[in-house]
Point group: C2
Chain length 696, copies 2
């Protein structure tokens, strides 16, 4: 049944192409609308060109290091090349996703002239391209390598062959990880530096509204939505997707060898991914809305797509497991359900804590009565308490996945179950990412309507879609964090198994002092990483502020709307500083596990991964939800509560929103990458660290 | 040599009494000064009376539970009674410390009329009483029980007798833990609710300065300094002190039994504590200042005391270890040094990140140019990056203590070394706490000078002392967090040993899913706990705001200074709400380890402790240092930087300071208690959980 994987991947890619053609057939609107969309597209291309050329240099350097490690016997020859293909496919996803999203925004605005559902269809289709491309290309990369390695190792016994394949493929996530690092961190810095910079001068100093074409940073701000929330989010989830599959294959090969079912064990994650592709495809057809839909009905339209897909996966994977593994191992199905349910509950929990329909957001809005300080305190407090449900859910999912799969009798089966839970959660990725990557398109469509002076009802329709996009962005973040945590856990388990295969028996007792030292350092790393990314946003934003001030000062007639600002210069400044600022946090993430492993021993390295996972997971949820609740409390006040727009409450809430920007769009999401990437780096550099550590 | 412990303890108590008499001989100043001091003293007594009566009920309830556990065979008979003595001595410390500090503030003001050194002597003596009482009474409690148990078990073989003594005494920290919980959490809520409430109405709404006698909450604010920073801090460190000693004794009994040196092993922590008492006593004589001392010279005066004590301990403990354990185990001395050095480095690191003499505080002050949002972001960023040094230092201290003590050959010896590092760090407690508890006295003295309209040079002298107190408060917090982390780690190690003695062999492998689930939940608990305590401060402060507004509205002539406000009513309101608000977070801390242990198994309980330790440690440092840097950035601006007092930069910095108040004085320090208390609860309830857990 393994052949289902390449079939699913090709199906996803073909359907994406069909969607792209469908989107492009839509009218892009008036000349003005086209011009605005053109600037954004140009800015996005300029960004991605610069980013990919820097990433290219970086990939060349890491490729050389990996090749050197191969020459010294620490790696097999395929790893450096698989590193390149992983990075290439992930980068390709980002490129396609952004190309489509920047072509869809004006078309969404144009469609909004006639109907809400029409606009929803265009924006959602653009999101669906991103979602399906991620799963399609991810699965394609894995399938190609699987069949190649299967052919390469054809002379070996099945069990040994599979062990060789999976232990090789385990190294393959690193290309995707590195690409994700740059896309998330660089994109996160870009989007928030542009946003904060545009707001600080435009809204606060000059008093012009959001998305005003006179603001020189307005295009950079719109580009940022695509760069951060489309390309960045896509690369993040591509990494989780590929990482959880290769980790589960490695765990499966170890777990089922004694039952003579290695092949079956590694088939499950690949086939489940294929089932997920088909289910997501079907799910997209259930996303439609009637005209004059309420906010809540629109949300239901998107939810319907996800729920249909999840139900199809729940049904399909039962038969897959029964057919492939047999009734003896049907318990593994419990692991699938654990992951699926955990993903859905985490999304709902995020919505509760960040939507203005519920108490927490309203409490934060109310706290604005006593000024910005109480807004900050109450928002942090909501973010902190919002970690309880996701953490308990993930803890229960781990226990459920482990014990349902038979971990009580066979420890390796239990770990395999944990991997399957991650794969189960991520099997809805095609559609979940679609609902998420739809957001920036709707946001840009609103900006386009504003800048091209459309009739109020157009703006009202795009606003409805944009506001929905804020909710799906929040739940999407919850999903991304939860799946990152489970994927990272599967990778850590696979890493431990990998060390066994390398002949290392390590003492992972919790009281081993080296492991404890690693745990402490690991728990600290997410904080250090957030500090670096937050201050990076501050520095990059100050560059934008200066440039915007300069343009207002030097370009005569700009404030009166007679002259056009130099949009490209702002895009260029943020692009340059985002590339520069992403280096230090990236190095921290890459070097920390290697340095700690070399100086404190391999057990400290394992402790570091687990410490970073547990503290990073909690911190990421807190930052995402604090940011979300501040954002929505501000919007709630703007909708008329607590004195409405311009009141002192609103000013206090804007402070919260500004603090929340880097929280929810830069530092928080970047933690997802940190926890996964460090595991991937540990796996790839394992042999090197073992041979060269000072502390054996 | 064990007899040195009671001797040291009595010495400390006698010297404290001598200091108290010396302080009381000082003149308390004018009638007005006496009156003001009287109000604060009355308020403090009212608070402590209410708190102790609630705590009394609570202790009676827990005593009954423990007695029930004894009747059901889960505990031995001494545990419930030791619980009471621990609570009693800790409470007595707090009572004496507060009695003295509230009697010293007016005397410090009076002494400041003639000389700076005179004022420093009074304030520091008051701090020294607290420091020496904590170590004296702590050591007395332990000595009494030790000699009693030694007599009780007199019929047994030495090794068995000592094992019985240490495993019984291990349970004895819980009384101190519970007392610390209420003192820290209740005191923390009190002090910040009063402070924030007084500021919100007084400074912001009515525009009257800090410490203005017209503000009805001003006395409550001054009471809060004593309640939070004297009694709360003292109880926190009392718990660390007692906890680290009993944990190390339990680890020593296990480590040295095979060498026939159980008695020697448990002697070391007790005797080192006694050496620490003498060294602290001597250190106090080195704290003196010349007239017209610069801020930095004053700091050096206090530092000199600590460094002299640390040097004496470093010398003394070498001979203690050589004499008691012999040269064979001289490596244990390396553990002492690891702890001592880590404590000092953590203090210096805190100073760097929070003092306005260094770059981080100045950068936060500078960020106020772009408004409150950037102040918040930069302050959080400083707090987050400031976790790096303390975490690396603690990780190195753990490794150093473990391996120096011989952990590579004998695992138990290594764990004993970790305990010794905690004891080593805390051996300077007498003097470290003195420099810390001196702060509130100086602060109150400044308030007294302001309210009683003293000459400017008096206020200038008290300001110099107060400002110094802010620095020592920050470094004291670093010390309290670091020692809490090491004590908690020693307690967890002792807990694991305790489980062995109970016949449980638990699988503490990091990949055990129950342990992992516990780790995740544990890492989340500090965040949930902070959320609860922060929102508690908000609610309690809003009660104060309403009362202050009411008094300004209803008491005619108050604003003009013709009528006195009703100070007692404000104290009463904060007292009541602090007692009410401390219940929920306290229950979380007490019940979490029991509930998780019962529902998910004992391994999950162990994971929970370690998860809470690593994430709580990092979060506590971040919160303390973010709070510290905001406070000092505001003070730096008030001293004239960035436009000075009243500028828009100052307003932005005030927002940061207000957010920082609950960070540094409520939530952050309360985490110290959380991580230690949960270990103590786990130890005491271990038998009960083992017998009744659902997940065996």
């Amino acid at each position: 049944m393994l052949f289902l994987a390449p079939i699913g991947s090709i199906l996803a890619i073909l359907f994406s192409i069909f969607l792209i053609r469908k989107i492009l057939r839509h009218d892009e609107g008036t000349a003005e609308m086209k011009e605005i969309a053109g600037w954004i597209r140009e800015g996005a291309y300029a960004y991605i060109k610069r980013q990919y050329s820097i990433v290219g240099i970086f990939f060349a350097a890491v490729f050389s290091v990996l090749f050197l490690l191969y020459l010294r016997g620490y790696l097999i020859i395929f790893v450096p090349f698989a590193f390149l293909t992983g990075g290439f496919f992930s980068g390709l996803c980002g490129f396609i996703g952004m190309s489509v999203s920047t072509r869809s925004s004006a078309r969404t605005t144009a469609a909004a002239k006639s109907s809400l559902n029409g606009a929803l269809q265009v924006a959602f289709s653009s999101g669906a391209v991103m979602g399906l491309m991620v799963v399609g290309l991810g699965l394609l990369d894995l399938s190609i390598w699987y069949y190649f390695l299967d052919w390469y190792y054809r002379g070996l016994d099945e069990a040994i062959r599979i062990q060789n394949i999976t232990s090789t493929m385990l190294n393959f996530g690193m290309g995707a990880s590195f690409m994700a690092l740059f896309a998330r961190v660089g994109g996160g810095i870009f989007t928030k530096a542009a946003d904060v910079g545009a707001d600080l001068v435009g809204k606060i100093e000059c008093g012009i509204p959001e998305d005003d074409p006179r603001n020189p940073a307005v295009i950079a701000d719109n580009v940022g939505d695509n760069v951060g929330d489309v390309a960045g989010m896509g690369a993040d989830l591509y990494e989780s997707y590929v990482g959880s599959i290769v980790a589960t294959m490695a765990l499966g090969s170890a777990a089922f060898v004694s039952y003579g079912k290695s092949l079956q064990g590694i088939t499950i994650p690949m086939v489940m991914a294929a089932v997920g592709v088909v289910a997501s495809l079907i799910g997209t057809f259930f996303v439609r809305s009637k005209e004059k839909a309420e906010q809540h009905e629109l949300l239901m339209a998107l939810r319907r797509g996800i729920f249909v897909s999840a139900a199809l996966i729940a049904i399909g994977s039962f038969f897959v497991i029964k057919f492939v593994l047999g009734m003896q191992f049907i318990g593994v199905y419990g692991a699938v359900l654990s992951g699926l349910i955990a993903g859905i509950v985490m999304g709902l929990s995020t919505e509760y804590f960040t939507s203005d329909r519920y108490a927490p957001t309203r409490a934060v809005a109310k706290s604005s009565r006593t000024g910005p300080a109480t807004v900050i305190i109450s928002g942090l407090s909501v973010g902190m308490i919002s970690t309880v449900i996701p953490v308990v859910v993930v803890a229960l999912a781990i226990l459920g996945a482990f014990y349902f799969s038979g971990g009580a009798k066979d420890f390796n089966l239990g770990l395999y179950g944990v991997g399957i839970a991650a794969v189960g959660m991520l099997s809805t990725l095609g559609i979940t990412l679609a609902t998420d990557a739809y957001g920036p398109v709707a946001d840009n469509a609103g900006g386009n309507a504003e800048m091209s002076h459309q009739a109020p009802e157009v703006r009202k329709r795009t606003d409805a879609l944009d506001s929905l996009g804020n909710t799906t962005a929040a739940t999407g973040k919850g999903f991304a964090i939860g799946s990152a945590a489970l994927s990272a856990l599967a990778l850590i388990a696979a890493y431990r198994e990998h060390l066994h295969l390398l002949g290392m028996t390590i003492n992972t007792d919790l009281m081993n002092p080296r492991l404890l030292a690693g745990l402490f350092i690991g728990a600290m790393l997410p904080f250090a990483f957030c500090s670096l990314t937050m201050s990076a946003v501050g520095r990059a934003a100050s560059g934008v502020v200066e440039e915007v001030r300069r343009q207002f000062r030097e370009i005569k007639g700009l404030m009166e709307g007679k002259e056009k600002p130099d949009y490209a210069r702002c895009v260029d400044i943020v692009t340059t500083s985002a590339q520069k600022e992403m280096i230090l946090p990236s190095l921290l993430a890459i070097l920390a596990p290697i340095v700690v492993g070399l100086l404190m021993g391999i057990e400290a390295g394992v402790g570091l991964l687990v410490g970073a996972l547990v503290s990073g997971f909690v911190l990421a949820i807190m930052m995402a939800n604090s940011g979300g609740v501040w954002d929505n409390a501000k919007k709630y006040i703007e909708s008329g509560a607590e004195g409405g727009k311009g009141s002192s409450c609103h000013k206090a809430a804007v402070v919260g929103d500004t603090v929340g920007d880097p929280f929810k769009d830069t530092s928080g999401p970047s933690l997802n990458i940190l926890i996964k990437l460090m595991s991937m780096v540990s796996i790839v550099f394992a042999s090197f660290i073992i041979s060269n550590t000072l502390f054996k």
